[in-house]
């Protein structure tokens, strides 16, 4: 019975692992930390799995637990050397230099997202995952209106980081 459950869980997670990797990418900044967070999310998913009823999609159910783990449960380990926070001034120079290259623009966007706080990262992540505001508000535990307002603020904040 347990083996059945294990097999079912591991297969489903294997098929949906992209979601977890993407969260790890946003919340960590080195391969070691990425692995650590993936590990912790997997444990939390597994712990919650017996109560998973299957009336929701496995992936939808994953979003919550994975984000909750990244935001609340995961303890950043001391042994990871944090990468230096990039100075906004450097961004400015770069933005002027490579303004028209899409690739550069994207790289800057990813770096800018790294500068957001945990909650803002979660909103951006859900937005990038094409979740609507209802889903975002349900996952975060805020109202839909507040989710919209916050998202607009984050967009402005990102814009400021990119073009100060």
């Amino acid at each position: 019975m347990t083996q059945d459950l294990e097999h079912k869980f591991v297969s489903e997670l294997e098929a949906n692992q992209n979601i977890v990797h993407k969260i790890c990418k946003i919340y960590t900044d080195c391969p070691d930390a990425h692995k650590d967070l993936f590990q912790e999310i997997t444990i939390q998913l597994w712990k919650a799995y017996p109560k998973f009823r299957g009336d929701a999609k496995f992936s939808t159910w994953m979003y919550r637990i994975a984000l909750n783990t990244a935001i609340t449960l995961y303890r950043k380990s001391k042994r990871h050397v944090p990468t230096n926070k990039l100075d906004p001034v450097i961004y400015k120079v770069k933005a002027v230099d490579y303004d028209d290259t899409e690739e550069q623009q994207l790289a800057l966007m990813y770096e800018a997202i790294k500068q957001l706080n945990d909650i803002e990262k979660a909103l951006v992540f859900l937005y990038l995952e094409d979740k609507n505001y209802y889903e975002i508000s349900e996952t975060m535990g805020i109202t839909e209106i507040n989710a919209r307002v916050k998202m607009n603020r984050i967009k402005k904040k990102l814009k400021n980081i990119l073009n100060p």
Binding site: E6, F9, V10, S11, L13, E14, Q17, N18, H21, K22, K25, F38, Q39, E40, T42, I43, Q44, W46, K47, A48, K51, W61, R64, I65, L67, N68, T69, I71, T72, L73, Y74, R75, K76, E102, Q105, L106, M109, Y110, N117, D118, I119, E120, A122, Y127, L128, E129, D130, E138, T139, M140, G141, I142, T143, N146, V149, K150, K155, L158, K159, L162
Partner: protein, 205 residues
């Protein structure tokens, strides 16, 4: 914002660059132990409740007979057993309600609620423990002087004041040290949690 929409497209494209774990890799992961902050909070809370038990045992009339403590200290120690049980029950109830399937905000709230219970217990214990130790200090001191009758005969107001002040200061120093360690530990574990909770709360205004 066109940049974010650009990013959205790229975000999907990047999926193929993500690491890929095998079935075995993931299977190995589910066998490992969690190192989450909630787990640590759970252990520390157990430790705190255990500390309460130690204090109860310490002041228990049948233990430490070399010092005869006044009767109302016994009363303290008896009443603290149901108090401990009540707090332990509340804590386990709260802890059970912590669920990773709640929304981010509910999860943060449930963790803080579980912590608050134990914090209240610890504060109560420190205050009562402080009071009990002031009384014990005075009691033991007077006892060493030959008991109440002799002490009362010889003592002047100055003597009363001195032993009272010394007892209070000694207790305060011990309490401050304990509280300092406690807050440090607490702050270390709860900092990120509180920060994120504040951020969510900020959205509501």
């Amino acid at each position: 914002m066109k940049e974010l929409d650009l990013l959205k497209k790229d975000w999907k494209k990047r999926e193929k660059n993500l690491p890929k774990l095998s079935y075995e890799d993931i299977y190995k992961m589910i066998l490992k132990k969690s190192s989450s902050s909630v787990r640590w909070i759970f252990y520390i809370s157990l430790l705190e409740l255990g500390l309460g038990l130690l204090i109860i045992l310490f002041y228990h009339p049948n233990i430490g007979k070399q010092i005869q403590l006044p009767g109302f200290i016994d009363f303290f120690s008896y009443i603290s057993i149901p108090v401990l049980l009540y707090f332990a029950y509340r804590f386990f109830q709260n802890y059970r309600n912590i669920s990773t399937t709640s929304s981010v905000k509910d999860l943060l709230e449930s963790i803080m609620k579980a912590r608050r219970t134990v914090r209240l217990y610890i504060i109560l214990n420190l205050v009562l423990g402080g009071l009990a130790s002031i009384i014990t200090f005075i009691y033991v001191y007077v006892d060493q002087q030959g008991g109440w009758n002799i002490f009362v005969q010889k003592a002047q107001i100055k003597d009363y004041l001195i032993i009272f002040v010394v007892a209070v200061i000694a207790t305060l120093i011990v309490l401050a040290a304990l509280l300092g360690i406690y807050l440090l530990l607490y702050g270390f574990l709860m900092r990120r949690l509180k920060l994120n909770y504040k951020e969510l709360k900020k959205m509501e205004v």
